[in-house]
């Protein structure tokens, strides 16, 4: 199975990544793409800063990907997660899940995002429009509940 995991500071191109995943493949019938973007929180934020744990980030996302592959008949998987300073409107994370049929692709993409949010070692901090450094973003209980529903 084609699996791509990248942790990078640079922006990514979701369409180009989808093209790479499906190029030359006749067996893939469905690709679900999720892109997470930086919000400005009603104009309050100048940027988000993402800190990560190099080494563990790759390892943990690899474990999450392996779980997804064991639960659904996937034909391809791409996870790209950015770190560093990210401005509102810019992309933070990309998940692509490819399968023969849509249901597996939808579910796997949702599973991957729930686990990325609660298990991948990344931390967001706010940078405010007035130039000050704001608070670390607090983990949401709703994200934990979303992860728990997968059992």
């Amino acid at each position: 199975m084609a699996r791509t995991i990248r942790i990078q500071a640079e922006p990514f191109d979701a369409a180009a990544e989808t093209g790479l995943l499906t190029k030359g493949r006749g067996d893939i019938g469905a690709v679900v793409a999720f892109t997470g973007l930086c919000r400005d929180e009603d104009g309050r934020l100048a940027a988000l800063e993402l800190e990560h744990y190099p080494g563990m980030a790759e390892a943990e996302i690899g474990r999450i990907a392996a779980q997804a592959e064991s639960r659904w008949p996937l034909l391809g998987l791409t996870v790209i997660h950015r770190f560093g300073r990210i401005a509102p409107g810019e992309e933070i994370v990309l998940v692509l899940a490819a399968s023969a049929h849509r249901q597996a692709a939808f579910e796997a993409a949702s599973f991957l995002m729930d686990y990325l949010k609660t298990r991948a070692p990344f931390w967001k901090r706010e940078h405010l429009k007035d130039g000050t450094v704001g608070a670390w973003v607090e983990a949401k209980e709703a994200d934990d509940r979303a992860t728990q529903r997968w059992g």
Partner: protein, 83 residues
């Protein structure tokens, strides 16, 4: 053994990483936290609510009762907020 800290745990302790010689009798992550808290108020501040701070041993999430025997790198960090 190397200990690394992230996000507000790193800020409260005032360093990103350190090399420590852990005394005998420190067998688990919870033991290590108790020992770190005895080293100064910055550690007490970072671990003031032990239920919040998460740990990883050699790049794998672990619970407080996990053994640290043979560990190369132990990490402490807040609940994750990526994605």
């Amino acid at each position: 053994m190397k200990i690394v800290y992230f996000a507000w745990v790193r800020e409260r302790i005032g360093k990103a990483e350190e090399q420590v010689d852990v005394p005998d009798g420190i067998g688990t992550v919870a033991d290590l936290v108790r020992w770190l808290k005895s080293r100064g108020e910055e550690y007490q501040y970072a671990f003031e609510n032990e239920g919040i701070v998460r740990a990883a041993v050699d790049h794998t999430h672990v619970k407080p009762e996990a053994s640290i025997a043979g560990a190369r790198e132990i990490a402490f960090f807040p609940p994750m907020t990526g994605g």
